[in-house]
């Protein structure tokens, strides 16, 4: 059988996920459940129906035409599909004239994915860009990424992977062997707190990061989502900085300020948003983190 990966979004002309002009491929499935996750539709590995509550006009056509009668209106969330009965037949998606329902997750072979990615090949070549695998946790699809890497090499453009690190070392080895760069997320230094915030402790994650540090020769970037009330206390930040300071091969540290753009997607999936009313941050709110620069020899980026 041909290997496939479940893709829930392909974003072109992305300007934030690596050098040059890039296409970001979002793969479905994630072992972590971070409370602040901005892509809740990425967590389950299975395809699912996502409603867009702020596009929806409330006509109820989707609920009426669903063969499974699996769509109900929920207060503040719009028309929500019950994943347990949904067969992903797509009737509600086709039948929603306003375009407020989407199937999240489509199976792609490497060849099919390449047909999408190669559309922007001219831009990669001019800008030194390429493809970035994001997620979800893209390393759950490690064999697929390895298979795709042949296309990237042949097309003469770069390939990066993002990872939360909560995968077997073997996956990290495989993917890093073919990636020009790895963007490694770091959520919390303390194993207990890490478990509270993400559903798993950070033992595997730190081991993988240390392994990459010792063995990976590509561009290794560590990214820290800065989340108010979660991992923004001086101990957590200090612990993170100290950990990175001991590593020798990391090229940069990147702090990402908390935002709430995932909120409408929680509602569209019929889920509660665990961050409540937490205020989103401006770049300037975390500018002070650059003060940690004197403890690191690599650049801190905001």
């Amino acid at each position: 059988m041909t290997r496939t990966a479940t893709v829930f979004n392909i974003e072109r002309f992305s300007s934030e996920d690596g050098p040059g002009i890039r296409t970001v491929v979002f793969l479905k499935g994630c072992p972590l459940r971070c409370k602040w996750c901005a892509n809740p539709e990425s967590q389950s590995r299975k395809p699912q129906i996502l409603g867009k509550p702020f596009v929806c006009v409330g006509c109820a056509r989707c609920a009426n035409i669903c063969p499974q009668k699996g769509i109900t209106r929920r207060e503040g969330m719009g028309f929500v599909t019950d994943a347990k009965v949904c067969t992903l037949c797509g009737t509600c998606v086709d039948g929603c004239y306003i375009g407020a329902r989407l199937v999240m997750g489509e199976e792609y072979t490497a060849a099919a994915l390449h047909r999408e990615i190669v559309k922007d090949a001219a831009y990669y070549l001019h800008s030194g860009g390429g493809v970035t695998f994001s997620g979800g946790e893209p390393l759950l699809h490690d064999d697929f990424i390895v298979e795709y890497s042949d296309y990237a090499r042949e097309g003469n453009f770069g390939m990066l992977v993002e990872t939360c690190g909560q995968v077997p070392l073997a996956s990290v080895r495989k993917a890093s062997a073919v990636a020009d760069g790895v963007f490694f997320d770091f959520k919390h230094i303390d194993p207990g707190r890490h478990r509270e915030l993400t559903g798993a402790d950070n033992r595997q994650i730190l081991e993988n990061l240390e392994w990459l540090d010792g063995n990976y020769s590509g561009f290794l970037s560590v990214r820290y989502p800065y989340i108010p009330g979660m991992n923004d206390d001086p101990e957590a930040i200090g612990g993170f900085i100290d950990f990175v300071a001991k590593l020798g091969n990391v090229r940069e540290v990147w702090f990402l300020p908390y935002h709430r753009l995932g909120l409408s997607k929680y509602r569209g999936l019929g889920r509660e948003y665990e961050m409540g009313d937490a205020k989103p941050l401006k770049m300037s709110d975390i500018e002070f983190l650059k003060d940690y620069q004197d403890r690191l020899s690599i650049p801190i980026r905001i």
């Binding site: 974003e11 072109r12 300007s15 004239y97 831009y123 935002h259 709430r260 753009l261």
Partner: protein
């Protein structure tokens, strides 16, 4: 910008646009006196009298001088083109000039009296009148119904010319006068057309003398102002200006300052001869650089002074103005004169032509933030990235889409295919909006009736009848409701397009005929090769190069409409074709059908494939349509000058609708792209509003598929950039890399609108207008209108980033 420039700039903003009757009065009196003289001589004398008698003035602090009317930004009146609307609008139909919703003009009572008096003489002698009397009824119908429209050409003078500035700087008008005299001596009046040639050459001599005299009058005015000036520095400056105006444009320019003044005088003089707009500046940086370099080397000029002169020149360009009728204004909103100025590009041997003046023009563009001139960067493989970066940064500061970026590769391919000589190719310059011209060698870069491409689709879908008027144009060969595929409809549509394109061409032949009789302009003709040699005006075939073709509007919308039919009727089978046609007739408002009108429209807007997303399902229709229209213009038609000297004398495709997409949209009923009755059609080759949802590169790829080989008259591509996607050098470099990749696909041009918070606020109020508005925040992007309102407010607080 220094204090002088800042003052001049401020005065420009403080000045209300007025109406000036001087030109109208002097010209009318002169023509009355000479009414029976040959047209070339009659108009040349009229021109001489205007330049001899009109008020001239200079302002303290000006380094570039000369005026078009009594006051800066005042519009003269050219009653010989059309008068009916002048009286109607003065009487308040639909608006008096000071009460217009846009492009207002103010008028003093005595000026109004003069104008009302003058136009009486012209009432039965206007170009519009002559033309309309010459046209068959079906064309008049199509004109009045907004399918084709010749008003801009015949009602307001022919324009879109780039005079040979380089030659004027090098040899002066003196040389033109002498050449005309020599040519005149060669003519044997006993030979056929001998006398006509002599009339024309006499007009050339008179016209050039008019301009020399005008410049001397301005010199004298500078002298008077110098005598009045208390400040010795200002006195010296004005005396120098007087010297400069006596030297140029009569003689070759000796210094950089003289070169720029000479160019301005020519620009101004061409504007005073006739009322046509889009008199452009060509490769300004190439023309003046040798003088700049020499002055710098001789130590008589500094970089600062040169920039100051350029900025004064830019400001002066904004003093030129034009009054259009209100319906015509709606096509060209924003007091636009379309004075294009090209920088960069390559030398004739393929080297980078960017020089200090190119950089200064870009700087002036961003410092002054003015409407005019439209600064255009010509890119080729050798253009330095640093220059592209400076231009993009200027564009971000300017916020009005300037500078725009042009692709040598694409335009030179097109022009070569049209037969333009190799040595002339690199000199191509955008004229007006984007139309490609060879400065000093091409007559009118754009000329011809508009074509409302989406209106023709509407007529096709109604079997050849305009549903608005009931006029039957050309019956389709079969009932559209019975078509079994989108392809069959497309065949009918092509036949209908051919019919209306034929009408356009007929109109233009008739138009040239009346202009040859009544609108010969020898001065500006003498600045284009080879009018003196052939003793012919531009409109008679005097130029080396010529191709006709007016703007079109709505090709992308029409292609989207075909994709919409295919999606709803033949692919998803939502409804049958007659039901779709019913939905169009009822403007998507019939709620008794299934799907209802609004449901169908929602599906067409949100679900049907649309151009701009790199989606073959839509792009194939647009490509086929563009190929049909473009190749037909190029290959099937000859302009009136064919065989008289110029080449290639074909027609060409233009997709630079200015604001015509709004005005033309108003004449078009509901269409299967989801457009409702009277909504705007798309602008240029930019994706229709709200339909670009797959990111910038996808939009570029769609545009890159179009057959730009046919687009000599240009195709405008507007792209919206969120301010924070260009907030760092790294981000801006990506945009430049994107431009280069786009241009590698032979796209012609791109211009950027940088989106600020005002747009996002408007999107919160009117989400339907902004379906494609992206927001990018640190590694995350989303369609703005799909966010919750509170998120939207958060985004507003985050995206505004100052450079």
């Amino acid at each position: 910008m220094n204090e002088r420039v800042e003052n001049l700039r401020w005065q420009l903003f403080e000045q209300d646009p007025m109406i000036c009757s001087e030109r109208c009065k002097i010209f009318t009196e002169s023509i009355k006196r000479n009414a029976q003289k040959p047209i070339a001589i009659r108009r040349a004398i009229g021109y001489y009298d205007v330049l001899d008698q009109m008020t001239v003035w200079v302002k303290e602090g000006e380094l570039i001088v000369g005026n078009q009317a009594r006051w800066p930004k005042a519009a003269p009146i050219y009653p010989e083109y059309s008068t009916k609307w002048i009286i109607e609008e003065l009487d308040g139909r639909p608006f008096r000039w000071e009460d217009r919703p846009g492009d207002k003009f103010f008028i003093d009572p005595d000026v109004e009296r003069d104008i009302r008096e003058c136009v009486k003489y012209w009432e039965d002698k206007t170009l519009v009148g002559y033309l309309r009397e010459s046209l068959p009824g079906e064309i008049i119908n199509a004109w009045d119904s907004g399918i084709i429209d010749e008003t801009w050409v015949v009602g307001a003078g022919l324009g879109n010319e780039i005079p040979d500035y380089r030659l004027v700087l090098k040899t002066g008008l003196q040389d033109i006068i002498e050449r005309a005299k020599r040519r005149r001596a060669e003519i044997d009046p006993k030979e056929p057309d001998g006398m006509k040639k002599i009339y024309f050459l006499d007009g050339v001599i008179k016209g050039n003398e008019a301009v020399v005299n005008f410049s001397n009058r301005i010199a004298a005015e500078c002298g008077k102002a110098a005598a009045r000036a208390g400040n010795p520095k200002i006195r010296a400056e004005l005396s120098e200006m007087a010297d400069i105006c006596r030297q140029v444009p009569l003689n070759p320019a000796r210094t950089f300052h003289e070169a720029v003044q000479s160019i301005y005088m020519i620009l101004l003089a061409v504007h005073l001869e006739a009322n046509g707009h889009a008199i452009s500046l060509g490769r300004f940086d190439q023309y003046v650089y040798p003088y700049y370099k020499r002055d710098i080397e001789n130590g008589i000029l500094t970089e600062e002074k040169a920039l100051e002169i350029i900025e004064c020149f830019f400001i002066k360009c904004n003093e030129l103005n034009k009054l259009r009728s209100w319906p015509d204004s709606e096509f060209f909103l924003g007091y636009q004169m379309f004075i294009n100025l090209a920088v960069g590009g390559q030398t004739v041997d393929g080297k980078d032509a960017t020089n200090d003046i190119s950089w200064m023009c870009v700087k002036a563009c961003s410092e002054l933030k003015l409407v005019t001139p439209s600064v255009s960067v010509k890119w080729f493989e050798g253009t330095p990235d640093g220059f592209m970066m400076a231009a993009l940064e200027a564009c971000i500061v300017h916020q009005g889409g300037m500078p725009a970026f042009y692709n040598d590769l694409a335009f030179m391919r097109t022009l070569k295919d049209m037969g333009i000589a190799d040595e002339d190719l690199v000199d191509w310059s955008p004229d007006g909006c984007i139309e490609a011209s060879i400065p000093g060698k091409w007559d009118f870069a754009a000329k011809g009736p508009w074509l409302n491409v989406e209106k023709v689709l509407e007529i096709t879908l109604n079997n050849g009848v305009d549903p608005r008027t009931g006029i039957v144009y050309k019956k389709t060969s079969k009932d559209i409701a019975a078509c079994a595929s989108t392809g069959e409809i497309f065949e009918e549509y092509k036949r209908m397009l051919a019919y209306f394109m034929d009408l356009q061409v007929v109109t233009e032949h008739a138009n040239d005929y009346v202009h040859c009789l009544y609108d010969v302009n020898p001065f500006r003709a003498s600045l284009v090769e080879d009018c003196i040699g052939r003793c012919l005006d531009l409109v008679e075939g005097g130029a080396l190069y010529s191709a006709d073709g007016g703007p079109t509007a709505g090709t992308i919308s029409a292609g989207d409409a075909l994709a919409g039919i295919e999606y709803a009727v033949f692919d998803k089978r939502m409804l049958a074709l007659p039901a779709l046609l019913h939905a169009l007739k009822t403007n998507y408002e019939d709620e008794t059908t299934s799907p209802t009108g609004p449901e169908l429209r929602a599906a067409l807007l949100n679900k049907a494939p649309k151009f701009g997303n790199d989606d073959e399902a839509a792009d194939k229709w647009i490509v086929a349509l563009e190929d049909y229209i473009g190749s037909r213009y190029r290959n099937q038609y000859h302009s009136s000058k064919y065989g008289k000297g110029p080449i290639p004398c074909c027609f060409s495709y233009s997709q630079s609708p200015v604001s015509g997409n709004i005005a033309f949209g108003r004449c078009v009923g509901a269409t299967p792209d989801g457009r409702k009755n009277a909504d705007p059609v798309n602008n240029g080759i930019s994706p229709a509003n709200g339909s670009e949802r797959s990111g910038a590169t996808a939009a570029c790829n769609s545009v890159g598929k179009l057959p730009s080989l046919w687009f000599q008259k240009g195709a405008i591509f507007n792209m919206r950039l969120a301010k924070n996607t260009v907030s760092t050098k790294e981000h801006r470099q990506r945009v430049i890399d994107m431009i280069k990749a786009l241009f590698g696909k032979y796209a012609q041009q791109i211009q950027f609108n940088v989106v600020d918070n005002a747009i996002y606020r408007d999107a919160m109020q009117h989400p339907e207008k902004y379906k494609d508005l992206m927001v990018r925040v640190s590694g995350y992007s989303a369609l703005f209108t799909s966010l919750a309102p509170d998120c939207q407010i958060d985004v507003l607080n985050r995206v505004e980033i100052d450079l």
